[in-house]
Assembly symmetry: C2
Homo-oligomer: 194 residues x 2
């Protein structure tokens, strides 16, 4: 007998996530969230909670999205998958709507939220672990030496690329970095074959 919820919670959360991604935590106001989601300020609070809680849920949604990317990229783990992944890192964005020149929402968060949001730390660390493990698994699958250290290097390289992208605001800014990463991956591959 009640009026049903008009908006789709999943869609709204995704819109909120994109807003946080684009403008950061402090740079996002309730008003912006309301406009982006099409949901009233009060409605947002009722459904998702405080701003902190909305951000937390947005971060979770972001990680879920990233997990899908990882799963797809490393469906068949191995150095080939890694090479393909780093080649794509330097390529122009797929679509106009592509957010990839905004860098990574969670990496951005590390820089913005260092003074509060201790639970963000968990998000970021879990996120980093996800990438690290995906990279390490692929290196191991191809019997590459020193897989752990090299996976750490790849994570760092990816983050460096994200910094570049964020600075120049163009995904192609990461091309030289991605290229050298690919060269390095190939050299590890041939080192194993030798």
């Amino acid at each position: 007998m009640a009026r049903p919820r008009k908006f789709d919670e999943g869609k709204a959360l995704e819109a909120a996530m994109l807003t946080f991604w684009r403008h950061g935590y402090d740079g996002t106001t309730y008003k912006m969230l309301s406009e982006a989601t099409g949901v009233d300020v009060k409605g947002l609070s009722n459904v998702f909670g405080s701003k902190d809680e909305i951000f937390d849920k947005a971060a979770t949604a972001y990680r879920a999205m990233a997990r899908r990317v990882v799963r797809q990229s490393f469906e068949t783990p191995g150095i080939e998958a890694l090479i393909a992944f780093f080649e794509r890192l330097g390529e122009p964005p797929a679509s106009e709507e592509d957010m990839s020149n905004m860098g990574c929402m969670l990496v951005n968060t590390i820089f913005e939220l260092h003074r509060f949001q201790p639970n963000m730390r968990e998000h970021v660390e879990a996120y980093r672990s996800m990438w690290l493990e995906a990279f390490e698994t692929s290196l191991n699958a191809s019997d590459i030496d020193k897989a752990r250290d090299r996976a750490e290097f790849l994570v760092g390289s990816m983050w460096g690329a994200l910094s570049e992208i964020r600075l120049v605001r163009s995904k192609t800014a990461a091309a030289p970095l991605a290229q050298v990463a690919v060269d390095t991956l190939r050299s590890w591959q041939s080192e194993r074959e030798a």
Copy 2:
């Protein structure tokens, strides 16, 4: 016949710079600046101008500091200097007061200030160019191939390392990344000798 300025403007600016470095732009208030510099809020405004202007001057001071580091690190340019530089990147901080686990003030700024401060862009780009040129010069001095692209890679790697450092809040977090960068530098070196 006037009361002389009690504080040292250079010292005050350095204190302001460290405050911005540690807390970011938005995270720094007039009050914090006043406490850090020991100068009254009004005095700060009188001497340095608005918060934006203080930040701009702090960024200039930061770049001057970085320039001294670059000059010292690459006094005799060459691949050896680069190797030494990246080896140091993964080492624990020299002193307790070392700010190196705060990452780089200007890289942090890219992430925080994307929505305003257009003149920050110039600072960051000039800063990036400074590193890029120092790296490229050193690669050329040792007759390394593809110096430009590889210098871009090194800049990206350094920024990746700074992200790691900032995340884990420990300089040693960058050790694996720095190690692989050093390996890569050595491989470029031996490639030339072949």
